[in-house]
């Protein structure tokens, strides 16, 4: 056990898997010698050599294609997309190839690859360094989609993703690299060292894909969140003084519907929070499912608190971000409805 930041936990997961399995390798822009622009692969090339941790040409589509070919050979490549905003050039290889290969080859070939991509706001990066694009991939059958909210889960989920025999898109919220996690720019950011989930074992362990976690039990309202928004939801619950049950989805696809339904049937109220733009965001699917599963238990309309339907702005980053005030307001509306 030691205290790890998000970046250290991710680095540790890759380190552990490179050591355990010679079929694992990782590549992407600046991931080799430099160790990645967010330092997630720092020290790994030195430790495991250039053949296992290396830079690629700047071509996300090429990286994915190479990974699919390597997967067909039997390797387990990890691809780092420097920013989720730059995953679009890779969508064809990801959607038309990686996600389809098992099905179209009747199980003869697979794509056991993991695509890591930092997502969301947090660095005043403007519209091309801040996007949350998960909903594009949760619509694609054949893909799994993961977004951790803390170092312990990040390492355990990333190891599960690497070991998974299907392609996994693994999103890493940038705001959890540096904070503030709770979405209060005005207050001093609480470092990971002050968080219990920063207690991370050095060696191998997994957090299973497809399982959500109830991170705050409550009985008045259910708040569904993932990534950074888990911390925002917790802060909002406090600020609304609400007996809110906060669920960290952790894996979006396959979704842990049971945990969600059990909670909403108990509370009768539900708020969904994500940073991505609202329309057709993952919150739409969550809302539709909860409504289908819990209709007769719902005492108030399901609320979505999300990013606005605009590109991510630069100067007004915090005005855009669905912070604790907005989530708390949503919780209050649902409780008063």
């Amino acid at each position: 056990m030691s205290t790890m930041s998000m970046v250290q936990a991710l680095n540790s997961a890759i380190d552990v898997m490179l050591a355990r399995d010679p079929k694992v390798l990782i590549f992407g822009e600046d991931v080799g010698f430099y160790g990645g622009v967010f330092r997630v692969t720092e020290g790994l090339q030195k430790k495991f050599g250039e053949r296992r941790v290396f830079d690629t040409p700047i071509a996300e589509g090429g990286m994915l294609a190479a990974a699919v070919g390597m997967g067909a050979y039997g390797l387990r490549p990890i691809v780092e997309i420097q920013f989720a905003d730059y995953i679009y050039p890779a969508t064809d290889q990801l959607i038309s190839e990686a996600a389809r290969i098992r099905y179209r080859s009747a199980g003869e070939f697979a794509a056991p690859i993991t695509v890591r991509a930092p997502c969301g706001g947090g660095i005043f990066g403007g519209q091309t360094h801040s996007q949350s694009v998960e909903a594009i991939f949760t619509h694609v059958c054949g893909l799994k989609t993961v977004m951790p909210s803390n170092p312990y889960d990040a390492k355990g989920l990333l190891i599960s993703a690497i070991e998974d025999d299907d392609p996994v898109v693994f999103f890493e919220p940038k705001r959890l690299y540096n904070g503030p996690f709770d979405g209060h720019p005005d207050r001093p950011a609480r470092p990971w060292s002050a968080h219990p989930q920063a207690e991370v074992p050095e060696d191998y362990y997994t957090v299973p894909l497809g399982r959500a976690a109830v991170v705050r039990p409550g009985s008045a309202v259910t708040v569904l969140a993932y990534g950074t928004m888990v911390h925002v939801a917790l802060a909002a619950a406090e600020e609304a003084g609400a007996d809110a049950e906060v669920i960290d989805l952790r894996t979006l696809l396959p979704l842990d519907l049971e945990t969600i339904v059990a909670s909403v049937k108990k509370t009768g109220r539900c708020v969904i929070a994500h940073e991505a733009t609202r329309t057709c965001g993952f919150g739409a699917e969550l809302s539709a499912l909860v409504q289908e599963e819990c209709f007769y238990h719902l005492e108030a309309p399901i609320e979505r608190v999300t990013g606005f339907d605009t590109p991510y702005p630069h100067a007004l980053e915090w005005a855009y971000f669905p912070g604790p005030q907005r989530v708390a307001a949503g919780i209050r509306r649902v409780l008063q409805a």
Partner: protein
């Protein structure tokens, strides 16, 4: 704004004046370990071995024994017989779609023979000859085309999008180009693993405009991947001529130059030339001298697929006028010239293969056709989306079965 004019026009006559083929035997054969720049002059030449009389000339003659050549001839003829059978099967409504490789059989058959049987192939929909030359059962090919109960792909895929791990043949995609950079990735994995197998990828001249082609060349060059990258320039991309893909401005083999890759440009209807060029590129890759871009200059003699009528966009006599002839006829003529084959044997073999294909087709249809007979059960619609079926698919399967 310059728009490449559409020519030759359907009304008019075939016009191949844009071609400048080198005479057979004229192009020198470099050693397999030369620096790639030494091959760049070959981007504007055409490696040819067989002359118009069917004689094998020059340094590129692979000097293959008659038995091997007869085997190649047979595979090409079988491919052609299979194609015409399935084309008609679609026409008579037994399946939804089909694509022939008529006129391009040397490309797939000679290349399959020049590669090792366990080299990994990332083909397009027009290299069925690769599987046939490797001895893949015609019955299974047919069942895939019929999407019937014996279809190895469980009726999921469009006809001709075959897949066979056993025959080291990667699942075909309906998306153009995607597999060329995958071939490079597979080759990188092979090198990473200290494996001696190489990969080979194919792409049509039209699809070279896709990003995947660029990615394949870039990654092959940077990581010196043991792969053979083939551009099959059959002059047409559905209705658009190769100049719409830039063929008038430079050859497709020349695309290698900007990446420092080796390149070869070969008469795709010359079995010996295709074999020799492929062997050269494969040996070079296997010896870790890097990837080669091979342009196979050939002609799509038939329609693009069963969905189009080529006489709407090119002259009727275009196929007949194609200057580089027919690969089957040319190889047969060569063997006959060597006293290793005869008109009679040729005719007999044609009959035999037509019969074989007809019989196999009867077998295949016993398992059903797209319209009629057995099918895969509804479960197969939901399997293999993931390794394990998630709850949403289990639910949807129940719904599909009409269960609550």
């Amino acid at each position: 704004l310059h728009i490449p004019p559409h020519r030759p026009l359907p009304g008019g006559h075939a016009d191949f004046s844009y071609m400048h083929e080198s005479a057979a035997g004229k192009v020198k054969r470099p050693a397999i370990d030369v620096p790639s720049v030494k091959t760049h002059p070959l981007a504007t030449r055409l490696v040819r071995v067989l002359d118009d009389e069917g004689k094998a000339l020059g340094e590129w003659d692979p000097r293959l024994d008659p038995e091997t050549l007869r085997q190649g001839l047979r595979s090409m003829m079988l491919t052609r017989a299979y194609d015409s059978r399935m084309y008609r099967a679609q026409r008579t409504g037994k399946t939804s779609f089909y694509m022939t490789s008529t006129g391009e059989e040397a490309v797939s058959v000679a290349q399959a023979m020049a590669l090792k049987s366990d080299d990994m192939l990332f083909a397009t929909y027009r290299q069925q000859g690769l599987l046939i030359a490797r001895g893949y059962p015609i019955l299974d090919l047919m069942c895939q085309v019929y999407s019937n109960a014996h279809d190895p792909l469980k009726g999921r895929q469009l006809p001709v999008l075959y897949s066979s791990r056993e025959y080291s043949y990667y699942s075909l995609s309906g998306n153009l180009g995607t597999q060329l950079p995958q071939a490079v990735g597979w080759a990188m994995a092979s090198a990473y693993s200290g494996d001696t197998r190489i990969a080979a990828g194919w792409i049509g001249e039209g699809a070279t405009a896709e990003a995947d082609f660029h990615h394949a060349l870039t990654f092959a060059a940077v990581y010196r991947a043991p792969v053979v990258l083939n551009v099959v320039n059959n002059q047409w991309a559905i209705s658009s001529h190769q100049e719409v893909a830039g063929g008038d401005e430079a050859t497709f083999a020349a695309r290698a130059i900007g990446f420092g890759l080796a390149c070869l440009r070969v008469d795709g209807n010359d079995f010996l030339a295709v074999y020799a060029a492929t062997k050269w590129a494969a040996d070079r890759a296997r010896a870790n001298h890097g990837a080669t871009l091979v342009e196979l200059f050939t002609y799509r003699a038939g329609s693009h697929s069963t969905s189009d009528d080529p006489t709407r966009y090119r002259p009727k006599d275009d196929p007949q006028k194609w200057p580089l002839g027919d690969p089957v006829a040319r190889l047969a003529r060569h063997l006959i010239g060597r006293g290793e084959w005869s008109e009679d044997r040729h005719e007999a073999q044609e009959k035999e293969l037509t019969q074989l294909v007809r019989d196999t087709d009867r077998e295949a249809q016993k398992f059903g056709t797209l319209g009629e007979g057995q099918r895969f059960p509804i479960e197969t619609l939901f399997e293999d989306v993931y390794k394990e079926m998630p709850w949403n698919l289990r639910r949807q399967l129940r719904e599909a079965k009409g269960q609550p």
